[in-house]
Amino acid sequence: MADAILLNIVLYLPLLGIALIVALPEGQDDRVRHLSFGVMLAQFVITAMLYLRFDPTVAGLQAETNLPWIADWGVYYRIGLDGYNVLLVLLTAFLGPLVVAGAFSAIQKDVKLFFSMVFFIQFAMLGTFLAQDLLLFYIFWETMLIPMFLIIGIWGGERRIYATVKFVLYTAFGSILMLAALIYLVWSQYTETGNLSFALADLFGTQLTMREQGWLLAAFALSFAIKVPMVPLHTWLPDAHVEAPTTGSVILAGVLLKMGTYGFIKLGFPLFPEASLAAMPIVMALAVISIVYGACLALVQTDIKKIIAYSSISHLGYVMLGLASLDLLGIQGAIIQMVSHGLTAAGLFLMVGMIYERCHTRDLGAYGGLAKVLPVYSVFFMILTLAAIGLPTTSGFTGEFLVLMGAFLAAWPQHLAGDSVPLVWAVIAVSGVVLGAMYMLWLAQRLLYGTTKVPHGPVADLNRRERLILAALLVPVFWIGLAPAEPMLKTEQAALHFQRLVAGPRATSSGSAPAPVVQQTAEATR
């Protein structure tokens, strides 16, 4: 009960934040900034407490709230923590104060509105993760459009209006079909059982024909795949990232893109298991194409932000690959990879923002040899680069390794059974690691080494605020890299649940074997 109240406090603190900063008199921009930071920090502290109290051995929801909302239609205000969302909620709450602190000096126009919108999107993102009712999920999911539309459109770069309208029109199209699909799903479940309910727990296992499942999955998947984004639905992302202010990019890469993969793991696949199983080869193919194609596109960019934007496509391809493997390690790896990418991409976008604030250009050709003039900046940049590549001891390694391991574990028996296609995809996916190392190291080389070129120089190195932000960001990067058992354990029940729902009886063959190993490691680290 106490946990449930704390969880609601976490969810509604951002709204309180909006009320507080709107109530402040005009012209006190600094107080607005500090107040926002304080509220976000409080939110993170409570979330961390909830995370520590989260019991990884319980299957089901924890800290659950369940109140009638539109009771006549079976829509309930139902939120709670489970293995699917606990790490992502922690990530969102963790990035909150860093995002706010990162915007202290960059945002000088309409400060109140800006921080209100940051709070608003924080609220919507947390709500999306926490919602355990399909309509509630949809409402939070769509709500994210409004603040992001304004953040990119008001504080963005030169082509911001084009980028933000493109972002909204792209993502809204997917959601429109998802709305029709979810109504159809609930209605089918209602005619089948006579129990009108939007609760996710009631909707799993709805009896649908294969054809219905196919259409519904397509509608859900379109919406999620746009958000991920998976090739070929990715074209909104570079525009949105490049034109968004730093804060917008950080939120987008840090949390918002995870909505797509979270949608797949939480709803898309488990709701329509047979169709999902049939579609897995396609998902796997698209995931691997996203990994390689995203990496190749990142390789040829000259805009620093674009490189990182395209690398997001590649990194989220791993998440999809892990889910498509249906192997326990692969699924857990997918969740870890979501968190890891959230941390590293957020860090890299923050760092791009820091250099942009100083030099007013993102053109890679204008830079060179920053290691000599900005040593602290260069150290942080290098660490984040290595984390993004997936160097062991960083979170990137844990995520990618588990995903690839899962992909191979799943593909090998199929190869022995005569179907080598998954194995081929897994092998191609490994090349993404090499490509990742290429574009990131090449970026670091061109930016940090060589002849010294600093536009609008001389510039100062990172100040204390910026150092603290980046140092804080590195803590979880190394935590997940060095002691992955603890966070992995929190996701285990969810991974098992996902596997049971989607793969059904097939799961027992390869998947469940590594589970005790993880359990043991976790116990050992405790």
């Binding site: 509105l113 949809y138 429109i176």
Partner: protein, 461 residues
């Protein structure tokens, strides 16, 4: 005839009538213009309260057997139509400091209220005409531009055509069934006789014309643009809600089938698509709202595809939310200076810098009209499409939703203008009138309530 029943069942109408009489007396007795707004406002508020209380109490009566009956849903519908008139009145002061505007508005409201308890085509016809005729005059009242006459004439002629078609349809029904009861209209739906079908189609066309459904919509953009803000607000909200709720009363709980479904779905879909597309290229705010209202009439008629049970709930909730959103936007427009200037979309550029609160209100209204959650427009739209899917018309629902997607762009464009574009030179920030602020708040409070807890109202409907 039971006089108590006549008194209680028609209490909202009586209160409006009392207001009308008071206004007439005031006109004779005094030349102080300010009292008129107060009298009209008092009458409308009293009527709204009466309708709400009777709806909650669940009062049921049939004071004029076969002509007029009331139950809690009739009172709920009346309350929705009446409450939307309150912000309209508050907006009207600047445009109409005195004169016959308030009298016309109350008469029109009386008509709108009457049709919502009609049981026979006689009462329906009486109410529909009483609602429409004052509006033709209201469009002309503040004649500032030569094209006002053209617009009002267009509106009058097409309105007259609608009346003629309605009468033709009704006489066909009378010929076929020998009765003018609305309840017998439902019987016509199931028969295959050409006479009965012609009757149904003619009556439907009359409603399409009044609600501005494509291809009977051409009067709406002209009339909306030519009229002033309060009159446009009245037409877009009160009149539209009245027509649609009357259509619900007409069809009752009958489920539609066969060609009628196709006719309704195709025309409604055409309205959604065309309304949303045509709105994209408008440069006048009120013309844009006109096309938006054409699209929204399409959504509202979509609700008729669903089963009878959910139909009233969907249309009532949607009309209320849609009306509140439109009035919220109208109330937050720049204060009245030069009307033609006020109407230009370009002038809303940089509006957030000049009037942050008003700009946020318009943005809320636009997001809500676009159906983006968490704003109540989403729940309203969800309600309609849920009914359509539950009735088994999945394909129509998907097409309608895709049509509604087309509408997102022009609502967003207005937000882009207000928040993301620099203000045009030479615009002075003007203080918002107090009464307009009051109208904003009257729309805002229910909007927030419906956003946080839509379940409350839905249980009541």
């Amino acid at each position: 005839m039971n006089w108590t029943q006549v008194l209680v069942a028609m209490l909202p109408e009586h209160l409006l009538l009392a207001g009308i009489v008071m206004l007439l007396l005031l006109d004779i007795a005094s030349d102080r213009p300010r009292g008129q707004l107060a009298v009209a406002l008092a009458a409308v508020i009293a009527a709204t309260l009466a309708a709400s209380v009777l709806a909650i109490a669940g009062y049921t009566a049939e004071p004029f057997a076969g002509q007029l009956s009331v139950d809690s849903s009739a009172f709920a519908a009346k309350a929705i139509v009446l409450v939307l008139a309150i912000p309209v009145l508050l907006l009207a002061r600047d445009e109409f400091p005195d004169g016959p505007f308030y009298l016309l508005l109350l008469s029109s409201l009386y008509g709108a209220s009457l049709i919502l308890s009609a049981d026979s085509f006689l009462t329906l016809f009486l109410g529909l005409e009483l609602m429409s005729i004052p509006v033709y005059t209201m469009v002309l009242l503040a004649m500032r531009r030569p094209d006002c006459t053209e617009a009002a004439l267009k509106y009058l002629i097409l309105g007259g055509t609608a009346t003629a078609m309605l009468l033709m349809g009704v006489s066909l029904q009378f010929g076929y069934t020998g009765s003018l009861q609305l309840a017998d209209f439902g019987l016509l739906l199931d028969t295959g006789s050409p006479m009965a079908q012609s009757a149904v189609v003619l009556v439907l066309l009359a409603f399409f014309l009044k609600a501005a459904i494509v291809p009977f919509h051409t009067w709406a953009p002209d009339a909306y643009e030519a009229a002033t803000v309060p009159v446009t607000g009245f037409m877009a909200t009160v009149v539209k809600a009245g027509v649609l709720l009357a259509a619900v009363r007409l069809f009752g709980y009958e489920s539609l089938s066969g060609h009628l479904v196709e006719l309704l779905a195709v025309l409604a879909l055409a309205s959604i698509v065309w309304g949303n597309l045509a709105a994209i290229r408008q440069t006048s705010f009120r013309r844009m709202i006109a096309y938006s209202s054409i699209a929204h009439a399409g959504y509202l008629f979509y609700a008729f595809l669903g089963d009878g049970e959910g139909r009233f709930q969907a249309v009532a909730f949607y009309s209320l939310v849609y009306g509140l959103m439109n009035l919220l936007a109208f109330a937050s427009l720049p204060a009245a200076g030069d009307d033609a200037e006020r109407d230009r979309l370009e002038n809303l550029k940089g509006y957030y810098q000049r009037a942050p609160f008003a700009a946020v209100m318009i943005a809320m209204a636009m997001f809500s009209l676009a159906g983006i959650p968490p704003l109540p427009g989403f729940v309203a739209k969800f309600l309609i499409f849920r009914n359509v899917i539950e009735a088994g018309y999945t394909l129509y629902a998907v097409l309608g939703l895709v049509g509604s997607y087309l509408g997102i762009y022009f609502y967003l464009r207005l937000v882009v203008y207000m928040f993301m574009s620099p203000a045009p030179a030479g615009l002075q920030p003007q203080p918002t009138a107090r009464l307009a602020l009051g109208a904003t708040l009257i729309c805002l409070v229910p909007t927030i309530v419906l956003m946080v807890y839509p379940g409350g109202l839905l249980r009541g409907l």
